[in-house]
Symmetry: C2
Subunit: 304 residues, 2 copies
């Protein structure tokens, strides 16, 4: 989200005010939370994946498209440090899609469902003479702790990321592993805020700062750039990394690093600050504004 | 669903076998149910509505499209006699859609959310150079009784419907009122099976019979035909009535009729029978097979 989209989300949240007791987390985070009783709550997210935007049916297999459609929502569960519960999928099928392809798409959905223990329990299918669209809605439950939000970063927190960033479009965006286990370890260690990097580091860090009413300064030469990235800008802005971006006090991060049992790399890249601007310190020592140049869901839309 | 679609749903259910304790209701009903604890469960449904299939952006206002997108899922909640909890919406926006129109679409979603006490708690939006698609996922909770399923009709049950059928396309499909209150009264009175008529009476009655392993005989001259319907065939097959089709013993139905406080009409149209064929008795006294000629989500798709 950036610009028009951020404003729209604010507008939607203001128009549809929620009861904060029944809905502790509403519009604007990775998932929304509903209280069912004093002890029980459920979270939900939804994502629509479109041919030509999130995948290309000419390049990606139906299995890959199915897998990605689930994995994107699983990554939202990871972003909040919650445990996936179940998912439903609705699909709009091009007229020539056929049941063989649809079964492969389903196989991909199921592969992710099984791997991450999040059964596919229902769905809806319709055909039209337009390209493929897949929408997944996923429920999760808290992991014996409060879900970690975007809006709760504290001044002085380290800013950290899992894995490496950029160039996901080469292949990774179709095959990434949602950081569900990593996320639980990070949350347990005491993360104050977290988000999954879907729109790109520059955009997602701006989300955390805006919602937390804080600023940030990150260091260019600390950013873990993926082999597939085309340099720093690619790591900052490409999006669809589906790595975790989180903030926590240094002491807790040091402890987390000692306990870390995962292959996924952990990197500190900067600090949350009180002043509400988001900066990047370049290798030459100069600081520049970190403009959210990541994925804008409404970009190229002339009316926004 | 009919033909190819029914087979596909069977295939999906078989491939993605669910734990029957954790998921008492899975693929193939109006909603799926997840147990959260001994006392607590949540149900979920999803529907994708497409321009040119479920609405026509040239004729329907954005508010109407938003309202319908929520109402279709609310009708699924009614079909199971459950209480709506919260919804999320994902939208694929044509490039020229613009924020003014999107706000109107949101207004329509909210109108239904408020009217039926089912807050919209999250969503996702993306733009593409293709027509509008709106996918809503909705959660509900049981209404202090078990959700009423499609698969539990008993031989000897009356077959009953709310309201009148056919011709919904004239207007009603954009403005219908999901039968949430009616459904709770029907379930309390002891309905054995229920479904909302989304695909058309002929198709939806076949769903109940197939899943219940029963048959049915309905009487043509008992079918409550809507003023907008073009005769009997239209009432049987048009679909998108979003009325309730339910089965219950005659004694219970007589009691229900006495207690009925709603404007919505209640009509008995036939009986569930043991023999697994679905028949309609015409005015001339001859019985014919009631072929599912209602909406097939995959029709006109040459590959199915």
């Amino acid at each position: 989200m950036s610009g028009g989209e951020t404003e729209l989300v604010k507008y939607f949240a203001a128009k549809g005010k929620l009861n904060a007791v029944k809905f502790p987390i509403g519009i604007g985070d990775d998932m929304a939370q509903v209280k069912l009783s004093a002890k029980s709550s459920v979270l939900i997210t939804t994502d629509m994946l479109l041919d030509g935007v999130h995948f290309d049916t000419k390049k990606a297999s139906p299995e890959q498209i199915g897998y990605k459609s689930m994995a994107v929502s699983l990554s939202d569960c990871a972003a909040m440090a919650t445990v996936p519960l179940a998912a439903v999928a609705s699909v709009a099928l091009p007229r020539n899609y056929g049941s063989a392809k649809l079964k492969k798409l389903h196989k991909g959905l199921l592969a992710a469902a099984k791997k991450y223990n999040c059964p596919l329990i229902g769905g809806d299918m319709t055909s039209w003479d337009k390209p493929l669209a897949v929408s997944v809605a996923m429920m999760s439950v808290p992991a014996k702790m409060k879900p970690v939000r975007r809006s709760t970063a504290k001044a002085g927190d380290l800013i950290c990321v899992t894995g490496t960033l950029g160039g996901s479009i080469a292949k990774r965006h179709l095959e990434f592993e949602p950081r569900l286990k990593e996320s639980l370890a990070i949350a347990k260690a005491g993360a104050n805020a977290m988000i999954d990097i879907s729109d790109g580091l520059s955009t997602d860090l701006n989300h955390i700062c805006r919602l937390s009413k804080k600023g940030a300064i990150i260091e260019a030469d600390k950013i873990p750039i993926s082999r597939n990235a085309k340099g720093l800008n690619s790591a900052l802005n490409d999006g669809e990394d589906f790595e975790l971006l989180f903030t926590m006090p240094r002491k807790k991060f040091e402890r987390l690093k000692k306990q870390w049992r995962f292959k996924t790399k952990l990197t500190e890249i900067g600090n949350i600050v009180g002043e509400q601007s988001v900066k990047i310190e370049m290798k030459n020592g100069k600081a520049a504004d970190l403009i959210p140049k990541g994925y804008d869901h409404l970009k190229e839309n002339p009316k926004f």
